[in-house]
């Protein structure tokens, strides 16, 4: 690459609104949709597991299995399915599948972390089971569920860069094109933005997690 600068800012400026921003937008939408769909599946399943323990082992085994499939193979397998076209759909399916393990597990762990005596006091005072779920179990489990969302989202942001290979769009597109053209600026902008997005989401959701736990935050502040 000789004495060429690592990043050509002129290219960045010129392609900012046509290529870079849309790729970033696609990436956020891709990961956002996937995690939301995964959440919509995982929370009911997680709650169901706390009610029917027998389901726990098979569900965790299955989602664990999905989690171990290497991402590129997963995308490849999906596009061989009839009716699944190359593009965003197989990417979303794979990202949802990857998120299930951590989201279901954290929902179960969150609900299990509610002290038994708290539930029993609630029952004894005449809360119905759905009131206990909504007013006691879920609020107390929420910080742990959000911790799961944080891990799932950060992983999704990483894996989604590879999904560009099957034309799902996103920041991976910049990386792959940059590699094709041997153009470091494009590679670095794609990779850099993906990293930045991960870090921001990580910190943002960590803040949400703490904000959802005013009781332990205040107690810690008082103890300090």
């Amino acid at each position: 690459m000789g004495d060429e600068p690592l990043i050509r800012w002129r290219w960045v400026r010129r392609n900012w609104s046509d290529e870079i921003l849309p790729a970033l937008g696609d990436h956020i939408v891709l990961c956002g949709i996937s995690v939301l769909i995964a959440l919509a599946i995982s929370i009911p399943i997680g709650i169901a597991i706390t009610r029917y323990r027998r389901a726990q082992t098979p569900v965790m085994f299955l989602t664990g299995l999905l989690y171990t499939i290497p991402s590129l193979s997963f995308f490849a397998i999906l596009i061989t399915f009839p009716g699944v076209k190359i593009g965003r759909t197989p990417a979303i399916i794979a990202l949802v599948a990857y998120s299930l393990l951590v989201l279901i597990r954290n929902t179960v762990v969150g609900i299990d972390s509610v002290p038994r005596e708290t539930i029993e006091a609630a029952r004894g005072m005449g809360l119905t089971s759905s009131q206990i779920l909504r007013q006691v179990e879920l609020p107390l489990a929420l910080p742990i569920i959000v911790a799961g969302i944080r891990i799932a989202t950060v992983s999704a942001i990483g894996i989604a860069t590879i999904a560009a290979y099957i034309n799902a769009g996103g920041l991976g597109t910049l990386i792959f094109r940059g590699i094709d053209r041997d153009f470091p600026t494009q590679i670095l902008i794609g990779a850099g933005l993906a990293t930045l997005l991960s870090v921001l989401v990580d910190f943002g959701l960590l803040a949400v997690e703490r904000w959802l736990r005013p009781w332990s935050r205040r107690a810690a502040a008082r103890a300090a």
Partner: protein, 328 residues
Amino acid sequence: MIGFRNVTKQYAGAARPAVDNFSLEVYDGEITIFVGPSGCGKTTCMKMVNRLIEPSSGEILINGKDNKSLNETELRRGIGYAIQQIGLFPHRTIAENISTVPRLLKWDKKRMRDRADELLELVGLDPDTYRDRYPSELSGGQQQRVGVARALAADPPVMLMDEPFGAVDPIARHRLQQQFLDIQAKVRKTIIFVTHDIDEAILMGDRIAVLKEGGILAQYDKPEKLLTEPNSEFVANFVGADRAIKRLALTCVGDVQLEPVQGDGQQLPHVPEDENLRDVLAAMLAGGTDRVIVLSCEGEVRGTVSEQTLRSLFRAPAAERAASGAVQ
């Protein structure tokens, strides 16, 4: 009235029942104590009243109706329940915890707030300091008092209290017991109160059920009867070798007929009229005298009582004592 009719609870996989053929009447407006060694089935008995546990056989009648025929949640909302492990909601403030049942009953905000403050005062916690704290910011004993306040919140006619003062220090406990009795004298709730402390049982109970291992009812009587006529060696041992002295604790010195003071009596110990006879005896022993001066609550001298009077009182049953004004 709450009636236990041949109630047995056999937990799955347990070698023998936790509660065995348990029958007794809990009378309206009284404090009925369940007392007994750890693991004898007190909590199990209590939880069958509000159906947290279903009996294996037998039935529990509430105002004559089998509690199985009553709506579960309505039954529970009408029964104040302070559980042994406290069980406050960690994510809710103290005021919100206390307002749990009022919120279910859809009280308005102001009424809930006023009630929470009133109850905090009652259990000896300053509302301004504690109402907006979270449970994790309170000591175990303070949490327990909040648990009692929460059970009282909607003013239920029936209360189940499982060792409600177990985590409170002796001085605060004594004050809470006394306060609780003062309130009870006014509101006359029907209360089942579990403890393993026989002194607390004698102080608080209108009637005491002594349970033994395996959930068997050993004796069910008024405190005086339990102390004078324990029906078995188990009960005698459980109430303790000092049961004679415990009996003295059942009577206030102010209720005994006093003698006029001879001379100025300055050197004699002074006791307030609401002191119980056990503490009066202790004051005599500590003062090395056989006589104490009794003061009214306003601090005026009411009279004097002698050790001999205590001895003679001790020979008469409490009922007679109260009836005759109790002098030899």
